[in-house]
C-alpha cells in the first residue's frame, strides 16, 4: 500500500465502522486503530479476553478488501503476519498471556528479520492459563525479555478506550518506522470496558510506511542500516533478491553464524536503531504539584485509579506528583530520573507483584526509595487504596528513610518485591 491509497482506504474504513462517535470496548478499539493505520491482514487464534478484536476484524476486514484468518494456534498466527508483512501488508495479531507465551519464538524472529508487525497482548492473569476472564499487567517483563537474545522491543500501554485505538495506530507507525515488532501491552479490563471513542479525521493522525528500497537494484544491500540504522529492505514481489533468516546474517542477508564481528554489528544495530531514538519513542504524561514529596508512577488501566488517588490526596492537602507511562518499552529512563528529583518516595501501583517497579528503580538510581503497590487476582486497584498506600509511606526526608537502604525498607512497606 502506498500513500496514494491512503485516503481511499480511510474512506472505506470509515464507511465500514459507522458513526464517528461510538461507545465500544477496548478490544474493538484496537481493531479500529489497526484499520485506520492501514492494516489489511489479521491472523489470530481466539482467546479470552482478546477474542473481540478478532471478531471485529473478521467483520470489517472483508468489507475493506482485507484478510482475516483464524490460524491453528498463536505460533502460526504470528508466523502468518510476519509473512504478510514481507509482502508489504500491514499486519496484526491479538492474543493474551498463554498465546503471547507461544509467540515468543516468532517475536524473536520478527526482531531478527526486522519485520514490521503489531501484536496486541490483552493481558490476563497468569501464569499459564491462570484466570482467563480476569485482567492483569503480568506480561510487562515477558514483552521485554520473553524472547531470547539481546534485542529491543517497543511496547505501548493504553489507559482508556480512546487510547486503545490511538495507540494501536501509533504501534503501526512505530513498527513501520523502525522495522520492529511493536506490542500493544493492554489488559482485559480496558479491553472489555466500553467507553466513548471518537474516530479521528484523516488529517488528524499520521500514517507511516516503511522506507522503500533504493531504485537501483544493483546497489541494493538489504540489511545495511541507513543513517538511522534502519535497513531499506524491499518487500517481496518487487523484483529484488532478499534472503530473510533468523540466523545471524551479514548486510546481504546471508547467514554468517560463526562470525563474531558480523553478529556484534547486526545485533548492536538492531538494538541501537531503537535505543538511539528513545527520546522519539518514549511517551509519558507528568502532573506536578507544588510541594510534592511523593510521586506515583503508573501505566495502563492502573493509571486511572492512581490518578483518582492523586485527586483524593490533593483534596486532603497532600500534594503528589504523578507520571503515566504511555510507552513501557523502551523505558523512559531520563524522564523517570528527572521525575524522581526532589522526591522522598515513588510508589508504583501495578496489577502484578512488581514488574515496572524494577526499571523505575533502575532509572531512579537511588535518588529516593521506590516501592510497588501490587495487586493480583484480577481486581483493579481503587483510588482509595492507592491514596491510603501513599499516606502510609513514612514521612520525612530521604536521609530519614536512608536513601538506597530506605529503598529496601520502602519496598517492604509497599508490599512489593
Amino acid at each position: 500500500m502506498g500513500e496514494h491509497l491512503d485516503k481511499e482506504h480511510y474512506d472505506l474504513v470509515c464507511k465500514a465502522l459507522g458513526p464517528k462517535m461510538q461507545f465500544v470496548q477496548g478490544d474493538v478499539a484496537y481493531a479500529y486503530g489497526a484499520l485506520l493505520a492501514g492494516c489489511t491482514y489479521f491472523a489470530g487464534y481466539p482467546i479470552t479476553p482478546a477474542t473481540e478484536t478478532a471478531e471485529a476484524l473478521a467483520r470489517y476486514l472483508p468489507q475493506i478488501g482485507g484478510t482475516c484468518i483464524q490460524m491453528e494456534d498463536e505460533i502460526a498466527s504470528l508466523s502468518a503476519i510476519i509473512g504478510a508483512s514481507w509482502t508489504g501488508t500491514k499486519a496484526m495479531t491479538a492474543t493474551s498471556g498463554p498465546g503471547f507465551s507461544l509467540m515468543m519464538e516468532n517475536l524473536g524472529y520478527a526482531v531478527m528479520s526486522e519485520t514490521p508487525c503489531v501484536i496486541v497482548d490483552v493481558q490476563r492473569s497468569g501464569p499459564s492459563t491462570g484466570q482467563p476472564t480476569e485482567s492483569s499487567q503480568g506480561d510487562i517483563m515477558q514483552a521485554r525479555w520473553g524472547t531470547h537474545g539481546d534485542h529491543e522491543i517497543i511496547a505501548l500501554a493504553p489507559s482508556n478506550v480512546q487510547e486503545c485505538m490511538d495507540l494501536t495506530i501509533d504501534c503501526f507507525n512505530l513498527a513501520e518506522r523502525y522495522r520492529n515488532p511493536v506490542i500493544l501491552l493492554t489488559d482485559g479490563d480496558v479491553g472489555h470496558m466500553r467507553e466513548r471513542l471518537v474516530i479521528p479525521d484523516r488529517e488528524d493522525y499520521e500514517v507511516e510506511f516503511r522506507v522503500p528500497p533504493p531504485e537501483d537494484k544493483e546497489a541494493y544491500v538489504p540489511f545495511e542500516g541507513d543513517e538511522n540504522k534502519i535497513p531499506r529492505v524491499a518487500n517481496f514481489g518487487l523484483g529484488y533478491h532478499t534472503y530473510v533468516t533468523g540466523l545471524t546474517h551479514d548486510v546481504t542477508g546471508l547467514p554468517a553464524t560463526d562470525d563474531a564481528d558480523k553478529h556484534t554489528q547486526l545485533v548492536t544495530r538492531l538494538v541501537e536503531k531503537i535505543t538511539d531514538k528513545r527520546e522519539e519513542i518514549v511517551r509519558v504524561e507528568v502532573e506536578k504539584q507544588e510541594g510534592a514529596r511523593i510521586g506515583i508512577i503508573s501505566y495502563g488501566i492502573t493509571a486511572r485509579p492512581a490518578m483518582g488517588a492523586v485527586r483524593i490526596l490533593r483534596e486532603r492537602g497532600v500534594p503528589v506528583n504523578f507520571m503515566r507511562l504511555i510507552s513501557i518499552w523502551p523505558f523512559a529512563n531520563r524522564q523517570v530520573a528527572e521525575f524522581a528529583a526532589g522526591l522522598d518516595h515513588i510508589l508504583v501501583p501495578e496489577m502484578n507483584l512488581g514488574q515496572v517497579v524494577h526499571p523505575v528503580r533502575e532509572a531512579v538510581e537511588g535518588q529516593c526509595p521506590v516501592s510497588c503497590l501490587p495487586k493480583i487476582g484480577g481486581v483493579m486497584h481503587n483510588p482509595q487504596e492507592v491514596s491510603e498506600a501513599v499516606e502510609k509511606i513514612p514521612k520525612g526526608t530521604k536521609g530519614a528513610t536512608g536513601g538506597k537502604k530506605g529503598g529496601k525498607k520502602g519496598m517492604k512497606k509497599g508490599g512489593g518485591r
Binding site: M21, F23, T48, R194, M307, N382
Partner: protein, 175 residues
Amino acid sequence: MRLRFCGFGGQGIVLAGYITGNAAVTDGKNAIQNQSYGSESRGGQCKSDVIVQEGDIYELELDEIDVLVAMSQTAHDMYIDQLEPNGMVIIDSDLVEPREEQSNLHAVPFTDIAYQAFNRKIMGNMVMLGYLVVVSEVVSEASMRSTIASNVPKGTEEMNTKAYEKGLELGRERK
C-alpha cells in the same frame, strides 16, 4: 451515578447497560460500562455496570451502587448489600421480593407490562429503561430514545421505542 443492572442472561441486562452508557456519552457525559463475561451472561446470573459522570472516571469498579436495577431475585439478593444508603432500587415486582422496609424502592412489573402490551416479555428491559430515565434522570429522554432505536435489531425499532415510551409514562405517573 453508579448503576448496576442485574438479572438472568436473556433478559436484556447487558443491552440495557450498554444503551444507558451509550446514551450518556451521547449526552456529552463520560461513561464506562462493564458486564458479566462468558456463559453466565447467556442464561445464568448476569450483570452490567454503568458509571456516568461529568468529569473523568477514575474508579472503574463498583464497590457501591447508587441505582440497583434487579430483574431476578438471586441477582437482587446478591447485590443489595452494595447499595449506598438511600440508593435507588428498581425491581420487576413479579420476579423480585424486595427487602422489608426498603427505602427508595420502585417495584414495577416490567416484564408483565411488556407481555400485556406487546406480547413480548423481552421488551421488559425497554419498559424498565423508560422508567429508569424518568426516576433517576441518569441520561436525557431523547438520547435514550435515539440510542435504543439505533441499537436494537432491525425491524424491531418501533416496538422497542413504544416499550420505552410505556416506561416513560409509568415513570411520570410514579414521579
